[in-house]
Each structure stands twice: as C-alpha cells, then as structure tokens.
Symmetry: C2
Subunit: 225 residues, 2 copies
C-alpha cells in the first residue's frame, strides 16, 4: 500500500490569518490607533450603530470606517456622506473579512491622521468569529427580532466578543425576547463580556455605549490597550 | 463628502490564483508531467473513474493522485490501497481547490518519478470552474441521474473543460435523459469539447476514455501539450 500524505487547508489558513492579524494589531498599537471589529447578522443594525457612534465621537477623535460587503458599496456611501473617510471591501461572495483584506484596506487610509477605525464585518454570525482581523476590540450586535436563543446557536461569536450591543430594544414590548435569559446565556459563554441594550432608532442606550468606546479609544491613545 | 476607496477581493484572489496556476503549469511542463483536473458534482463518480483509469494506465505510466475533499480521506485511502501514491487535501469547508493548495500537494510528491497526476477536485459544479489549478487538461463528469439540463445551469464548468465524461450510462434506459439534447447543449457552449459516455459500473466506454487520456499523457512526455 502506498503512503497517504495529508494536507489540512483550513488550519493552515486560520494560522496564517492569526499571524497576520497579530502583526496588524502590533502595527496599529505602535501608531496608537484603536480598531473595532463590528459583527452581526444581516440587518442587525451595524451601519446604523456606526452612524450613531460617529455622531457622538467624531468631534473628539479622528475616525475612519472600513466597510465589508459581499457585493455593494451602499454602506460606505452612507459613511462618506458624513464626511468620514471610508474604504469599501467588496468580497465578491466571501462570507467574512480576514486579516489580509484589512491589511489592504489600511493601505488606503492615512493612518497618521487617525485615532480609531471601525470595521463593519460581513453580516454573518459564523465565519467572522473565526477570523481575527487584528482588532483591538471585538463588538457584536444582536437585535431583538433575532431572538434570545442566539448564544446557543452561535456560541463562538458570543465568546470572542468584548461587547454585546443588544439593538432594537424598541421592539422589546412586541416580542417574547427575554433580556435576562439572554444575558444569562451570554455570560455563561463569556463572563467578561459587556452588554449594552440600545435602540439606534430612538437613541436609547447609545450614549452609554459610546462612552465605553470613547474610553477604550482614549486608552489606546495613551499607549494602553 | 469624503472619498470612497474600493477594494475588490474576489478579483484579486482570482488573478493571484491565475498567476500561480500558470507557474505550476510551466513547472510541470518542464518536467513533462501531465496534470488532469477532474471535476463533477458530489456522487458523479470521480473516484470510480479514477480507479478504472488507473487500472488501465498504471502499467504504462507512473501515476499519482491528489484527492480534494472537504473533510475526509476515504477517497485517498481507496487510491493508496491500489498502491498508487496519493495526497489528500482536506479543505475544511472550502468548496473548491485552488492553485496554492496544488502547490502544497506537489511538494509532497516525488515529481521526478511521475508521468501523470490526476487531481480529484471538490464535488461542486460552480467554484472549481473558476479556479485554474495549473492543469494540462480539465475533465468533468456529468452522471446520467443528474439530468441533461446541467449545461444550462452550470455553463462555466462545461466551457472550461476539454472533456466531458457522461457517467452512469447504465441508467439511461431508466430515465428520460436525452443524450443528443445534452451533446447539443454542451457543444453550443464549447465546440471543441470531447464527450465520452461511460459506465464505471459495467466498464462500457472506459477504454475509449482511457485511450484519449493515454494519448494526452504521451504527448506531454514527448514535450508537447
């Protein structure tokens, strides 16, 4: 019988990605730039949260946005209308961003003029959780209409995030979404996670979220993080 | 309004892949090794065709097989039981092989001792058609139970192949598969394609197919192709 040689592609890809993500994180830390990786399902409110956040922090920090999308640039167009620099990554079918894509996007930005970068990942609760993009902090949005059972179905995503933003709290009265049950499930997966209930539509809770983010950006500016 | 920068990931990936595939093809040509890229739907009969082909050609040529699979190595085990060298590429979820994966697999083989390599691609009629792997010839299998309408649904696959093997002809009497309609649809997409109706189960047509392949391997050995 001949010998069987085995090549594992996925592990190679994940470990190559991890190495590059580490380099990106170190490079940004040296420049004291904060990078937030924002993940959520499609329609969870990523672009809305970014726009609300920019409104509150743009006076205080120099910010830019990297928008990931499978095949459009409408989100990036919303950002540049606010006169914030944006890079659109069109993956053409890929369901997540990876470190090599972020490396390309960073080359399009004037990093010396920036304090903070927000990356809007592809709408997907699975693959983005596996691919480190060199972020300082990972943030996910769960929106109320998606249901309070999502931590059971997508445990990795809830585990890798520093913050969970629970968006669309204005829907809470209209659904059987159980916020306490959600928090319990999330904290069981990730005891250190911060949870901010917000509504991008009414503005409820956004100030608290923005205050947390501002403190993190400030920490990075001071050489911490 | 700020400026919008756009990064197209899919096109970058496809053009990087094309460049590497060209290098692989040139390298193999210099060593006079023939590489066949075998594509089909899951269950079309790729491994069966490879085993039948090896039976007929292994006395004449020094052959090896590269097996692509999402998450198993059963196909490669069937090959090494025939005492033919095999490399298993486990993609861990990816739906196609690409040139970089073939480059890794080639490093696992003693190329100086080989005349021909058969690559069994991932079972999928879509993405494998887009990724050149550096092959000398592309071959696809369509099996009778899949239906004669597949050229209408997967035109790119039928366009990039040099040969269409129509497998499982022993099912022809039991279905409304129209071989003439199929041929017409295929030739409209790809006038130069060769079509071999075969049955790996009964052996019908396999000799004709193997004869074509032997002639192509021979051409490569003589410095043609």
């Amino acid at each position: 019988m001949a010998e069987l040689r085995l090549i594992e592609i996925r592990e190679d890809i994940l470990s190559d990605n991890q190495a590059l993500a580490g380099q990106i994180r170190e490079g940004l830390r040296a420049k004291r730039i904060f990078l937030m990786n924002l993940m959520a399902s499609p329609g969870g409110g990523k672009t809305s949260l970014i726009l609300e956040t920019l409104k509150r922090l743009r006076g205080r920090f120099r910010m830019a946005v990297i928008e990931g999308d499978i095949d459009s640039q409408v989100d990036a167009e919303k950002i540049i209308r606010e006169d914030i620099p944006a890079v659109q990554i069109r993956t053409g079918g890929f369901c997540h961003l990876d470190a090599s894509m972020i490396e390309k996007a960073l080359k399009e930005l004037d990093l010396d003029g920036l304090d903070a970068l927000i990356v809007e990942n592809i709408g997907n609760l699975v693959c983005p959780a596996e691919f480190d993009i060199g972020s300082t902090r990972n943030v996910m949005i769960l929106s109320v209409p998606e249901g309070d059972d999502k931590p059971l179905k997508y445990p990795l995503m809830f585990s890798v995030c520093d913050v969970l933003v629970v968006n669309k709290t204005d829907y809470l009265g209209m659904s059987d979404f159980d916020m306490e049950a959600l928090k319990e499930r999330v904290v069981r997966l990730n005891p250190g996670i911060r949870i901010f209930p917000v509504s991008c539509r009414t503005g409820q809770g956004i100030d608290d979220w923005a205050q947390w983010l501002a403190a993190e950006i400030e920490k990075t500016k001071q050489g911490g993080n």
